[in-house]
């Protein structure tokens, strides 16, 4: 009987342990990216910072998922030709946005402060500037990373935000607005593609 209780206790302990480990995995994932970002953010020239950020975005952001999310109700309305034009332009555009926003943190180091599970596969990891200089504009800013776990268990970043203001949400609003104000699909989607090309210099 004693053995049985100890066995149950062991099983329970293992269960708790693995749950905790699961919670930490996303935090470790984000911290790993932030560690890699540090030298890029410390780079002396904007070009080096931009190149470094682009490399990380390319590796860790699930652009295909984000590119569809930001189309909202129009995600399935693209023709094959439109899709072929849209995908690479969106990738370029979103990378550019990440570059501009993250370079505001040039010279800073971000550290994970905790995480919130929206679901098993949709996790918000929060971070802040470590050792912010007194008076720093971003000392109190919470930088969020939305991490998504695909069916195979692989993690990827799908959105980033600061103090509850999210990039992909803003993109979904603007993209929806451009599409709707240009007569909806398909013309509106062509207009969106033209705008994206313009903003990315293509």
């Amino acid at each position: 009987m004693k053995f049985f209780k100890a066995f149950l206790g062991g099983v329970a302990a293992l269960g708790i342990f693995s749950a905790a480990a699961a919670g930490d995995e996303e935090e470790l994932f984000v911290q790993g990216i932030l560690d890699q970002a540090e030298p890029h953010l410390a780079a002396p020239t904007e070009k080096e910072r931009f190149d470094g950020i682009a490399e990380l975005v390319d590796e860790y952001v699930d652009m295909r998922r984000v590119s569809r999310f930001v189309l909202g109700q129009y995600a399935r309305k693209l023709t094959d030709e439109q899709r072929a034009a849209y995908d690479p332009l969106f990738r370029k555009y979103a990378t550019q946005v990440y570059q501009n926003i993250l370079s505001e943190y040039a010279g800073e180091k971000l550290a994970v402060t905790g995480s919130v599970d929206r679901s098993e596969r949709d996790i918000i990891v929060n971070s802040k500037i470590a050792n912010a200089r007194p008076g720093s504009d971003f000392a109190d800013t919470v930088v969020h990373w939305r991490v998504y776990r695909n069916r195979d268990g692989a993690l990827a970043i799908v959105d980033a935000g600061a103090d509850n203001v999210w990039l992909a949400l803003e993109q979904r609003t603007t993209f929806g607005s451009v599409i709707a104000n240009n007569g909806g699909p398909p013309a509106g989607i062509d207009a969106l593609i033209t705008e994206l090309a313009e903003k990315t210099g293509d």
């Binding site: 699930d62 295909r64 998922r65 984000v66 569809r68 999310f69 909202g72 109700q73 129009y74 995600a75 399935r76 550019q96 946005v97 501009n100 926003i101 919130v116 929206r118 596969r121 949709d122 918000i124 008076g135 504009d137 971003f138 109190d140 800013t141 919470v142 939305r146 998504y148 695909n150 069916r151 195979d152 799908v158 959105d159 600061a162 103090d163 509850n164 203001v165 999210w166 992909a168 949400l169 803003e170 979904r172 609003t173 603007t174 993209f175 929806g176 607005s177 451009v178 599409i179 709707a180 104000n181 969106l192 705008e195 994206l196 903003k199």
Partner: protein, 271 residues
């Protein structure tokens, strides 16, 4: 310049970015009760019509405000930056924030946030005395951080829906509820009730300096939004509504009402 014109210029200067700034500056400064969820919940196109039924009017006002900003406020902010040091600007911002204390205190109390009301009162006493009339913020250093409240936030806490998104001429982005709240907030300001030339001069100067002081740190962020955005109007609406939600929640965060990002059929081919 005739006196009337100076007054108008000061008012215009103060006002263009006062409301949006409270939101944008709060890219660093937003609870989520059920009533508020509808506010900012993913304003995608289909929901856009519900949040922003007055888009035609709003876009006109947005254009007008941008024009005023370009002629008056942005140049003034650039000049202000050129002639002051960062520390001085911080002092001026602290001073102006300290002046807002009565309004913040009233709204803390109206929301039943007694602890925050205590913080507001303590901050006023500490910063007005030890902080040289509010130029410094020693209260922050001893652990009583600043927070903002206004009557629109109080109405939200009382359960009033935001109503449609509304861009006020000169005052900038708001909602029907918050626009009404801003008007009521003016009446809560002690300085509005003193009818002397000195008090009027004080109000106009404070308004002008506030506008410029709020606009100055937004020079780069606004340029960046303009450079990146496909639709400036829609970007500002999204940023404003998202940030305002958190402000109403007194900085508490809630991720439950974010739209799902993964489980649409569209994504099946991604897995």
């Amino acid at each position: 310049m005739p006196k009337g014109l100076i007054k108008f210029a000061a008012m215009a200067a103060c006002a263009v970015f006062v409301l949006p700034a409270s939101a944008m500056a709060q890219l660093s400064d937003i609870e989520d009760t059920e009533a508020i969820v509808a506010d900012a919940e993913a304003v995608s196109a289909e929901e856009g019509a519900a949040v922003d039924p007055w888009e035609g009017f709003n876009r006109k006002m947005f254009g007008l405000n941008n024009a005023i900003d370009g002629v008056v406020l942005a140049p003034a902010a650039q000049l202000y930056r050129a002639v002051t040091f960062k520390k001085q600007r911080r002092g001026i911002r602290n001073f102006l924030d300290n002046l807002k204390t009565p309004v913040v205190l009233i709204n803390d109390l109206l929301q039943g946030e007694f602890k925050r009301a205590g913080n507001t009162a303590s901050r006023f006493v500490i910063n007005t005395t030890v902080g040289f009339g509010g130029m410094g913020d020693p209260a922050e250093r001893i652990g009583i951080p600043q927070h903002s409240e206004d009557f629109g936030q109080t109405l939200a806490v009382w359960g009033v829906d935001s109503g449609p998104y509304l861009i006020l001429p000169v005052f900038g982005p708001s909602t029907l509820r918050d626009g009404f709240g801003a008007g009521t907030g003016l009446a809560m300001d002690p300085a509005i009730w003193i009818r002397t030339d000195a008090a009027s001069l004080f109000r106009y100067s404070r308004a002008g300096v506030s506008g410029i002081s709020i606009r100055e740190p937004l020079i780069e962020p606004l340029e960046e939004i303009r450079a990146n955005s496909l639709d400036e109007y829609a970007s500002f609406r999204s940023f404003y509504l998202q940030a305002r939600k958190r402000e109403i929640a007194n900085g508490r965060t809630n991720f439950d009402d974010l739209p799902d990002i993964g489980d649409f059929e569209e994504f099946d081919d991604l897995e």
